[in-house]
C-alpha cells in the first residue's frame, strides 16, 4: 500500500493553527533545506492509518501466545485512567501534583508487596532499561565496598538476550553457564563459576523454558556466599505473582515489565515501563527521586550522593504506571494470585492438548509457558518452527515466540496468558493439530505460508544487504 509520501499532494493541508496574533519576527539565520513532510487532508490521514491498523495484529485481533511477552488482554479502564486530563496535562516540574505522587507512592508499595522488595524506582522505561538500572545498583554496591574486582555477572544460557547485553553495557564481563539437562540452573556449574570476582547472577524464575527452578534458594545462597548479589528478571512474574515472591527466593533486586504482567499495552514496541525494586540495603543507590509521605502529604525528595544518578529524564513513563496501578486496583489481593494460577492453568491445559502430537520440552508441569521443538519434524520433512509460525497466521493466531530460548533447537515458545477462554484454547489446539497433520502430508504448503496475509514472507536478506531505511523520494 501507498506510503504517506505517495499520498501527499502539494498544497493540501489540515487547518490546525490560527494566524499569528503577535508581531512576526524571524531569527538571523534560518533553515534552507526543504522538509518533505507529507501534505495531506484529514481524510487522507484517517484512511491511511485505518488501512495500516487493518494490517496490524493486536491482542484485540486474536490469540497472541508470544512466549515471554505475556500478551494478556489490555483492560480499557486502564486507558481511560491514563487519558484523564488530570494526569496527561501535568507538567513534570510543576507543583500541586499530589495525585501523581500518591499514585506513584502507592504503586511502589503494592509492587514491593508483590515482589518482596523494600523500595522501587519507576524511572526505567522498559525491561532492558530496568536490567541496566538493577545491574548499576549491584555495581555501586561492590564499588562502595571497595570490591572493584567483582566484575563478572553470571547468566544462564536460557536467559533473555538483554541480560548479557545489559551486563556488558554496565562494564561487566558475562559468564554464560549452561543449563542442566532439566533446563534448570546446573548447581555445580554455578558453584564453579562463583568466586572472588563474582558481582552477581541474573536469573528469571520461572525460566524461559517455563520451569520453576526448585533449587532457587540454594542458587541464591551459593551466589550470596560467594559475595555476589542476585538479580531477578521479572519478565516471567505473571506465573507466580501472589504465589511466591522474588524477595523470598533470595533476590536482592528485580525489574518488572509493567507491559507484561501488569497489563499495560505494548504499543507495537513500547512505551513500556521497567520499574526496579530492591532490598533496603540497595535503596540509597536507586536513580531518580524518592517519593516520601508525611501525614498524607507526598513530596519528591532527592536521593543522596550514593545514587547511581538518573537513567531517564523526569519520573519515567508515568502514564504507563497509571495503567498498571489501575489494573492493581482492579485485581486487589485476591486478583493477583488469581491471574498467576489461571495463567499457569491455561498453559498446562494447552500443553496437555498439544503434547501428544507435538514435541514439548516440558515433561512435567509447566508454568506460564511451554516450549515446543520442531527439531524432529524438520529432520523428517523440513517443516521448521518458522513454517508452523507462519502457517498459524492464516488462522488468525499470532505465532508463538520463535527460535527462543537458544538452548532448544527449532523452538516455539507458547504463552497463552490467563485472559484466554477454554473455548479459545480448544480451538487453538485444534488448529495446531491440523497444522501438524498438514506438515506431514504437504510440507510445501507450510513452507510457503502464510497464504492469506497482506504479504507473503519478506526478503529479509535483501533488506539487510541493501538497506532502504527511508522513503527514497526518487532522488
Amino acid at each position: 500500500m501507498k506510503t504517506l509520501f505517495e499520498r501527499s499532494v502539494t498544497g493540501r493541508h489540515c487547518t490546525i493553527l490560527p494566524a499569528c496574533d503577535v508581531p512576526e519576527c524571524t531569527p538571523e539565520v534560518t533553515r534552507k533545506s526543504e522538509m518533505r513532510l507529507p501534505e495531506l487532508s484529514e481524510t487522507d490521514i484517517s484512511r491511511h492509518y485505518t488501512e495500516l491498523a487493518k494490517q496490524t495484529f493486536g491482542v484485540n485481533d486474536g490469540f497472541y501466545p508470544l512466549g515471554s511477552c505475556t500478551m494478556k488482554y489490555n483492560p480499557k479502564i486502564n486507558e481511560t485512567a491514563a487519558a484523564l486530563p488530570g494526569f496527561k496535562n501535568i507538567h513534570p516540574t510543576q507543583d500541586h501534583v499530589q495525585g501523581c505522587l500518591e499514585l506513584l507512592h502507592t504503586a511502589e508499595n503494592y509492587l514491593c508487596e508483590i515482589t518482596g522488595m523494600d523500595a522501587m524506582t519507576f524511572q526505567p522505561a522498559a525491561g532492558a532499561h530496568g536490567e541496566m538500572t538493577g545491574l548499576l545498583l549491584i555495581k555501586r554496591y561492590h564499588e562502595l565496598k571497595g570490591n572493584t574486582q567483582r566484575n563478572k555477572i553470571i547468566v544462564p544460557d536460557s536467559a533473555h538476550g538483554t541480560n548479557p547485553a545489559s551486563s556488558a553495557m554496565c562494564g561487566f564481563t558475562v559468564i554464560n553457564i549452561p543449563s542442566a539437562p532439566d533446563g534448570c540452573v546446573d548447581l555445580d556449574k554455578l558453584r564453579e563459576a562463583c568466586g572472588e570476582d563474582t558481582a552477581g547472577l541474573m536469573l528469571t524464575n520461572p525460566n524461559t523454558l517455563g520451569i520453576f527452578d526448585k533449587n532457587i534458594s540454594e542458587i541464591t545462597k551459593i551466589v550470596h556466599e560467594a559475595g555476589g548479589l542476585c538479580y531477578y528478571d521479572g519478565a516471567n512474574l505473571n506465573a507466580v505473582m501472589g504465589i511466591v515472591r522474588p524477595g523470598d527466593m533470595g533476590f536482592d533486586c528485580i525489574h518488572l515489565n509493567l507491559h507484561k504482567s501488569f497489563s499495560t499495552p505494548h504499543g507495537g514496541g513500547g512505551p513500556g515501563s521497567g520499574p526496579v525494586g530492591c532490598k533496603a540495603f540497595l535503596e540509597p543507590y536507586l536513580p531518580g527521586e524518592r517519593i516520601v509521605e508525611k501525614d498524607g502529604e507526598y513530596a519528591l525528595s532527592p536521593r543522596g550522593a550514593e545514587s547511581i544518578g538518573a537513567v531517564r529524564g523526569f519520573h519515567g513513563n508515568f502514564l504507563v504506571v497509571v495503567k498498571a496501578f489501575t489494573y492493581l486496583l482492579t485485581l486487589g489481593r485476591e486478583g493477583v494470585p488469581e491471574v498467576a494460577k489461571n495463567a499457569v492453568l491455561n498453559a498446562n491445559y494447552l500443553k496437555h492438548l498439544l503434547e501428544t502430537t507435538y514435541d514439548v520440552t516440558n515433561k512435567g508441569i509447566c508454568m506460564h509457558e511451554f516450549v515446543i521443538t520442531m527439531e524432529e519434524m524438520k529432520k523428517i520433512n523440513g517443516v521448521s518452527a518458522m513454517d508452523i509460525a507462519k502457517a498459524l497466521q492464516d488462522y488468525g493466531i499470532h505465532p508463538p515466540t520463535m527460535y527462543f530460548p537458544l538452548n532448544v533447537h527449532e523452538a516455539l515458545m507458547v504463552e497463552p496468558t490467563e485472559t484466554e477462554t477454554k473455548e479459545t484454547l480448544d480451538e487453538v489446539a485444534k488448529i495446531f493439530l491440523e497444522l501438524h497433520a498438514k506438515a506431514l502430508e504437504d510440507p510445501e504448503y507450510l513452507h510457503s505460508a502464510p497464504h492469506h496475509s497482506a504479504i507473503t514472507r519478506p526478503d529479509e536478506v535483501t533488506a539487510a544487504r541493501k538497506p532502504v531505511l527511508r522513503f527514497p523520494f526518487n532522488d
Partner: protein, 430 residues
C-alpha cells in the same frame, strides 16, 4: 474482584482435570512449600470498574491543571490536533507487540518506516531508528555510538538539559568515559577547551537549556577540525525554523520528540529520536525498519539490521535496547502528517514570535533577559524572588516559568495566545 480471567469455575475444574491435576494448588508443586506466600498479600481487596474509576478520578483531581502554561524546560505544551488521538488510540496500534512477524505487522512496520523518513526529513540526516526511551537516553546512546577502545574523552556543553547531563553521566560513567563539561559564557557554550586529544565526540543542545541559540555551526567546524563526531540535540520545532542539524554539520542528530504530539504526562511516555549519517548507520542502536519485497515481489517492510541487536549479539551488542517507544513514534508521525511542512514551519515561527513578544512584554514589566544572545521559544529573565512570583501566578491558574539559578526560565509556544501573554504580564506587574 476483577481479574479479566474469563473461564468459569466449572471450566477451570474441567481444565485442571483434563491436564491431570487434582487441584489448582498442584500447579505449583514445583515451588518449595517454605517459599510460598502463606496468607494474603497486603493489598486492598479487588474492585469493580466503577469503584476503580472513582478512585482514579479522585487522584487525578488532586493534580492542578493550569489555564495557561509558560513553562518548558524539557516538556513543552503544544496544541495536539484531534486526528492524532483518534488514530493512535486504534486498538491494533495500542495492543500489538513489536512487529517480529512481518506478514501480520505491515501496519506497524510501515508506520515506523514513515516515522524514520520524517525524522530524516526534519533533521536532514540519512538514517533514523525507531526511537529510544526519551531525549536524555538518545543523547547517552549517541555518545555510545562514538565510543572507541583507545579514546575515552567526551565533550559535553554545560548548557544541556540537567536531566540529560545526569543520564549521560550514568551511562558514560559506567562505560568508563571521561566527560569534559564545556562551560557557558554569556549563556553560550565556550568551545575554547576543545583540543580533541584522546576525544571522540562533542555533544551540544540547540537551543540550549536556557533557550539560547548556540553557535552550532561553529561547534560543528571545531568538532570536525579536531576529528570529533558532532552530536547535536535539537528541539523538533527549532529545526523547522533554525538550520537543521545537517545544516549545522551534525554527524548524529538526537532530541526529545515529546513536542510532536505527546501530552506533558508528568514526564512520560516521551520519545527519544536518533538519526545519523549513512556511515554511522550500523552503529545506530535500537530497532530499524527497512523496505524490501515479499516472495511475490510486493513491497514489504521488515525489522532489519537485526544482527546489531541484543537478541542476536547478546553481550557483544553495543546497546541493550529492546522495547522502545513505538507508539510515541506513531504519535509523532500522525502529528507531523496533520501539521504538514507548512504547519510545522508556521508553528515554529509562532513559537519564536510569541516567545519574543513575551520577552519584550516582560522586560517592560521589569523582568530583563539575562543573556543578550537570541533565543528560540525559551529565555531566562532575572527575578529577585522567582519562587514568590511563580506562586503568585499559580494562584491565578498560570504555570509560570521554571525558577533556575539567576532567575526564571520562560517558555511560549503556538499554544499561548496574545491575551494569555498580556494577562501573564499584568499579573507579573500586579
Amino acid at each position: 474482584m476483577g481479574s479479566y480471567v474469563p473461564s468459569t469455575a466449572k471450566q477451570r475444574e474441567e481444565m485442571l482435570k483434563a491436564a491431570g491435576f487434582s487441584s489448582a494448588d498442584e500447579l505449583y508443586r514445583d515451588v518449595p512449600e517454605e517459599l510460598k506466600l502463606h496468607g494474603e498479600l497486603n493489598l486492598p481487596a479487588g474492585k469493580s470498574e466503577l469503584e476503580v474509576d472513582r478512585i482514579i478520578r479522585a487522584l487525578a483531581a488532586k493534580n492542578k491543571e493550569y489555564l495557561s502554561i509558560f513553562r518548558g524546560a524539557g516538556a513543552y505544551n503544544h496544541y495536539i490536533p484531534a486526528i492524532v488521538g483518534s488514530v493512535v488510540n486504534k486498538e491494533e496500534f495500542v495492543t500489538a507487540y513489536t512487529p517480529y512477524q512481518a506478514e501480520i505487522s505491515q501496519g506497524v512496520l510501515q508506520s515506523i518506516f514513515e516515522y524514520q523518513t520524517m525524522i530524516c526529513e526534519l533533521t536532514g540526516m540519512d538514517v533514523a531508528n525507531a526511537s529510544v526511551y526519551d531525549g536524555c537516553v538518545a543523547a547517552a546512546e549517541a555518545i555510545s555510538m562514538c565510543r572507541s577502545p583507545k579514546k575515552r574523552k567526551v565533550y559535553v556543553s554545560a548548557g544541556i538539559h540537567p536531566d540529560t547531563m545526569k543520564v549521560i553521566n550514568t551511562y558514560c560513567g559506567t562505560a568508563g568515559d571521561e566527560i569534559v563539561v564545556l562551560p557557558l559564557k554569556d549563556g553560550k557554550t565556550d568551545f575554547s577547551a576543545v583540543d580533541g586529544e584522546g576525544a571522540v565526540c562533542l555533544y551540544l543542545q540547540q537551543p540550549n537549556f536556557y533557550g539560547v541559540i548556540e553557535d552550532a555551526e561553529e561547534a560543528g567546524k571545531i568538532a570536525h577540525e579536531k576529528g570529533l563526531t558532532y552530536i547535536l540535540s535539537m528541539d523538533p520545532f527549532a529545526m523547522c525554523l533554525l538550520p537543521s542539524p545537517a545544516e549545522y554539520g551534525a554527524d548524529i542528530a538526537v532530541g526529545e520528540g515529546q513536542p510532536l504530539g505527546m501530552p506533558l504526562s508528568f514526564g512520560g511516555p516521551y520519545l527519544g529520536f536518533m538519526a545519523c549519517k549513512e556511515k554511522q548507520m550500523r552503529k545506530l542502536p535500537g530497532r530499524i525498519v527497512g523496505e524490501t519485497v515479499d516472495t511475490e515481489g510486493r513491497r514489504a517492510f521488515v525489522l532489519t539490521l537485526q544482527a546489531r541487536e541484543q537478541h542476536i549479539r547478546r553481550e557483544k551488542a553495543s546497546s541493550n535496547i529492546c522495547s522502545n517507544e513505538a507508539h510515541c513514534a506513531l504519535t509523532a508521525s500522525v502529528y507531523l502528517s496533520a501539521m504538514g511542512p507548512e504547519g510545522m514551519k508556521e508553528a515554529a515561527r509562532q513559537c519564536y514570535a510569541k516567545a519574543h513578544y513575551l520577552a519584550a512584554e516582560l522586560e517592560k514589566a521589569g523582568l530583563k533577559r539575562c543573556f543578550e544572545a537570541d533565543f528560540f521559544n525559551e529565555f531566562v529573565t532575572a527575578c529577585d524572588d522567582p519562587e514568590a512570583l511563580v506562586k503568585k501566578l499559580d494562584e491565578k491558574g498560570i504555570l509560570g516559568g521554571l525558577p533556575v539559578e539567576g532567575g526564571i526560565l520562560w517558555c511560549a509556544t503556538e499554544a499561548n495566545t496574545k491575551d494569555e501573554i498580556d494577562t501573564l504580564v499584568k499579573e507579573v506587574c500586579a
